[in-house]
Amino acid sequence: MIATVVLASLSEGARLLRDNFWDYTVTGATIGAIYSLVALGYTLVYGVLRLINFAHSEIFMIGTFGALYATQWLGFDPGDPKKTGIALIGVLLFCLVIAMAVSGASAVVLERIAYRPLRRRGSTRLAALISAIGASFAISEAFALWRGRNFEQFPRLFDKTHTVFTLFGYDVRADQVLIILSALFMMVALDQFVRRTRLGRGVRAVAQNSETAQLMGVNIDRVIVLTFLLGGLMAGGAALLDMVFLEQTRYNIGFILGVKAFTAAVLGGIGNLRGALLGGFVLGLVENYGSALFGTQWKDVISFTLLVAVLMFRPTGLLGESLGKARA
């Protein structure tokens, strides 16, 4: 009896997924792109410090407020006419710079206040994790006190719902194109930075073998600050894209997203930049496909089950861990 009900709903789900495959794919990739960007922050810090930077979700949240303030500085109101052309690009870039700057700076301050003193004292990893959790609570609640607990609205900057092109019958929207492309661009830029530049080599060296790196003259403190900064910049970028996409924020907006992004990082292989990218997109897509098949209420159950299943067969995630390895 139950089996038939389940089967019936599954076959309906399968039809739904088949008929709207590209719809689910594009929307899943959009949220997946944001997961990926945030996951990069987790993976960078983890690769270098072996710390789950629990407060990274708040770095993202601060970025959304940075973007919101940027629009307010420019005098935007939710009802204003939409921008186009050069003005739009200027506005978006300005908001992006502000969001990234705010997030990056907070990440560096966070490292300074909540993590560095612990490192200096030779604390345990567990203590560092608790400090991260404490910092996360403190930051998000400070925003709750300051900004209140209600959502604040991000103005619509441009006509984001117009169709840019049609993919197998699905009208791909402007904001979806913007989000996926800019996320990919930022990720490629970060990957190249870490692989090609001197500073990036330092990051990889510390991730690989901190002691040797130190002996070779790498300033570890600077590398760690750089790591947090890079993670923060990516979170700031994600914050602006998220605001363009969903247009509202409040103090606890980072929490669930942070859990998802961390899941994505582990899924791809934590400590591995390309793993974070892959993990984010896979998670976003699987959530959407799963929602179609089983119903939206099972979304998180599906993604966590997927995570367990992947880790069973690949205990270090899809692409394996290590920021330091050449694979990264």
Binding site: D23, T27, G79, N150, G295, Q297, D300
Partner: protein, 396 residues
């Protein structure tokens, strides 16, 4: 021995001092009463307190504050009019969380001065707090806990100031089937106790009325992105989307539906009836959405509620919201019991259960199970030009 004694002296002194201070308080209270010039109005001997039970802080605070400010206004007015009977007010901040409720409820029960409660505001916390109020015989009047089964649990102290979801649900369904003449409907909820049960009632009534419910879905309110649900709704090509849940998610869902190209109508229940809905959806997307409740959103809709908004604003510094007038009426109902000379919990409960009282929102007369006697009025509010506009009664 000597040392021990030396220690005892200051302790005894402190104890005496404390006792003296305690007496002092009483003295002040009595002088206050006698000082009042031949008080017109009610005279009461014992200190009496009306408490509010519900969220004052946290994510669910909006609704609780709407109600508690109404109750406070009623008490302030009463105290101004009756110098010889000063009623205390105390808020128990449950944050809307059923886990916090028992320890708070027991504390309320323990404070002898508390003779009645306005609240609990939500159904979840009612389930853990009301058994305690029942055991202590402490009467409650709730302005917003709307789960239908609360009145079937045998609580003699329970009084509900609004019609429950068994009235709201069918009214929404009738409106969808009748006024909106929908053939295909999507029924979506936030998977919460309130949202799911309202959605289930509506879906059941729609099926009974021969309207096809082609999509049911349960979104996660903690998740920001509802695109999977939007796709599902688009796929089905429905005429109306009904949502059971709270305003922040309702607004977000409405916005994402419109962005996704869904042109269907949108209707939701009292949880969504808040200016926050328009904010979350954006004025453009919110336009035309219908939000229903067993109450007027604005007290102006009530006969005798015209000056309530101004008084409320002057008293609390903020505009009244949903159920503010009900909170005001609830406190006034209790004050009417006190005016009639009932100063114990038991007497007030008897008064509440038997009396008929004209408030600004309606006439209150309760059935033995604590529900309102008489037909339940359900009102619609429509978003027009970025503001909430009353659209009259749709059911009951």
């Amino acid at each position: 021995m000597k040392k021990w004694f030396r220690l005892l002296v200051p302790i005894a002194a402190v104890a005496l001092l404390a006792a003296a201070c305690g007496d002092d308080d009483d003295d002040v209270a009595t002088t206050d009463e006698t000082a009042a010039p031949a008080a017109a109005g009610v005279v009461c001997a014992d200190p009496l307190t009306i408490a509010f039970f519900g969220a004052q802080t946290g994510d669910a605070a909006n609704l609780g504050l709407n109600e508690s400010r109404g109750a406070e206004l009623a008490i302030n007015e009463f105290n101004a009019a009756n110098p010889a009977c000063q009623i205390g007010y105390k808020a128990f901040d449950s944050q809307g969380n059923p886990d916090n409720a028992p320890a708070l409820a027991q504390q309320a029960v323990d404070e002898a001065a508390i003779v009645a409660i306005v609240g609990p505001a939500f159904s979840g916390e009612s389930r853990t707090a009301n058994p305690i109020f029942e055991a202590a015989g402490l009467p409650i009047v709730t302005p917003s806990a709307s789960a239908p089964d609360l009145s079937t649990l045998g609580w003699t102290i329970f009084h509900r100031l609004i019609a429950n979801d068994d009235s709201q649900g069918p009214a929404i369904a009738a409106h969808i089937a009748g006024e909106l003449a929908a053939a295909k409907v999507a029924v979506i909820d936030d998977n919460s106790e309130y949202g799911l049960s309202l959605a289930e009632i509506v879906a059941g009534e729609l099926e009974a009325a021969g309207v096809e419910v082609t999509v049911t879905d349960h979104v996660d309110p903690a998740s920001q992105d509802f695109s999977a649900t939007v796709t599902k709704v688009k796929d089905a090509g429905v005429d109306v989307v009904m949502y059971g849940g709270y305003y922040a998610e309702a607004g977000r869902l409405r916005k994402q539906l419109v962005d996704g190209g869904v042109t269907a109508g949108f209707i939701s229940g009292d949880g969504s009836l808040d200016p926050g809905f328009i904010e979350a959806a954006g004025a453009e997307a919110a336009e035309g959405a219908i939000l229903t409740a067993a109450a007027f959103f604005s007290p102006d809709g009530y006969t005798g509620g015209a000056d309530f908004g101004a008084k409320f604003l002057a008293d609390s510094g903020s505009a009244p919201g949903l159920y503010s007038a009900e909170g005001y009426d609830g406190a006034n109902l209790i004050l009417a019991a006190i005016t009639a000379g009932n100063t114990t919990r038991e007497a007030i409960n008897t008064f509440l259960s038997t009396a008929s009282f004209q408030g600004i929102t309606k006439t209150f007369k309760f059935l033995p199970n604590g529900e309102l006697d008489g037909p339940a009025a359900i009102y619609a509010t429509v978003v027009e030009g970025g503001v909430l506009v009353g659209a009259g009664q749709i059911g009951g």
